[in-house]
């Protein structure tokens, strides 16, 4: 059994956005040479999430807007974040809560060297506190 770990990097450009990562993960899977098994995609960050949904820019906007509304910025939160570079303080508890609602990892089966996804299923990194450069761990287990 092979057990391969690769990293993937994704650059976000907005505070809150869905970024399609299906092709990037597919290429890592194909390069691994594993034919049957699973791929586990895991975000390394506490203000991003991973989700699966339909490949439609309008839906990406709908999901991002919903997260802003479901966990509003103008509520009362205790958590503060100090930026390491300039010591500036920011409240971003809502970014963390949105991340916990969506989840940090996806496990997808591999068959004949490719991910088996439904016809409309697309993998997304959900940026919740961007823009930033984000790292994903992509782990492939199988034979």
């Amino acid at each position: 059994m092979k057990c391969i770990i690769e990293k993937a990097f994704v650059k976000s450009h907005r505070t809150t956005e869905l970024i399609a990562i299906t092709e990037q993960i597919r290429q890592i899977v194909q390069k691994s040479g594993v034919k049957n098994g699973i791929v586990n995609v895991f975000t390394q960050h506490v203000t991003t999430a991973l989700t699966i949904n339909e490949d439609d820019p309008k839906l990406e906007e709908d999901i991002a807007r919903f997260m802003l509304k479901a966990v509003p910025e103008d509520d009362s939160y205790a958590h503060h974040h100090f930026f390491r570079k300039d010591g500036r303080m920011a409240v971003n508890a809502y970014s963390h809560i949105r991340a916990s609602l969506l989840g940090a990892n996806l496990t997808i089966r591999l068959l004949d060297g490719d991910m088996v996804l439904g016809g409309r299923q697309n993998l997304y990194l959900v940026e919740l506190d961007g823009p930033q450069l984000r790292g994903l761990a992509v782990q492939i287990m199988g034979e």
Copy 2:
């Protein structure tokens, strides 16, 4: 190590409902002959989800009702869905958002050829845009 992929089909009868799939998945696991490992259940659709909760029809209703309320239909959404058969257009962004909130896959451990679940834990397919026939991928890895 064995790595077996099976499909399971579930027919929903309402727009939004929880459908218990524990026994159906259990039979697939037992048929696979894998004794120790994991089973990964994955929905192929972007308007369904998978969840684990207590086997009580009243709770199934509570969860379905909550999803309707948490992501309301009468909000403003950009995503539209065209039915392939008759070209009719429908807004169902709320179904997609509900799916992302609940998640698309479950990973459950196997011991002595059966899923190890807590006494009250039941696996559910959550239909969010039915009624439809839905396909699940059931992947069993282990020995």
Copy 3:
């Protein structure tokens, strides 16, 4: 390939709280002797969840408070729970719904015998109907 299942126990002290379990899971992983693979952490209960977020007591409070607000107690629910010991009836549907929103399992990769987590990532058991003694299944697969 090894496939090891261990149990972990966590005692909650409040009705709703996040309890850090990173060190407890790390020790189980190290004791297993598995160097490369995955660890799947799974809660056995239908009124708890698992999540990953930043190790900050203030954020733990923010997440707990958000769950209370997102799924309010003073709504109308059908599900009732009878306590086995004294036959007392309680409505705790909101605890179950909160559990489904956050999810019941986490899959984390192992490299060189340790979980690979981002610098701010902490594993949490989310107690949603405590205080209780809770059981987690910790499954380690790999070599």
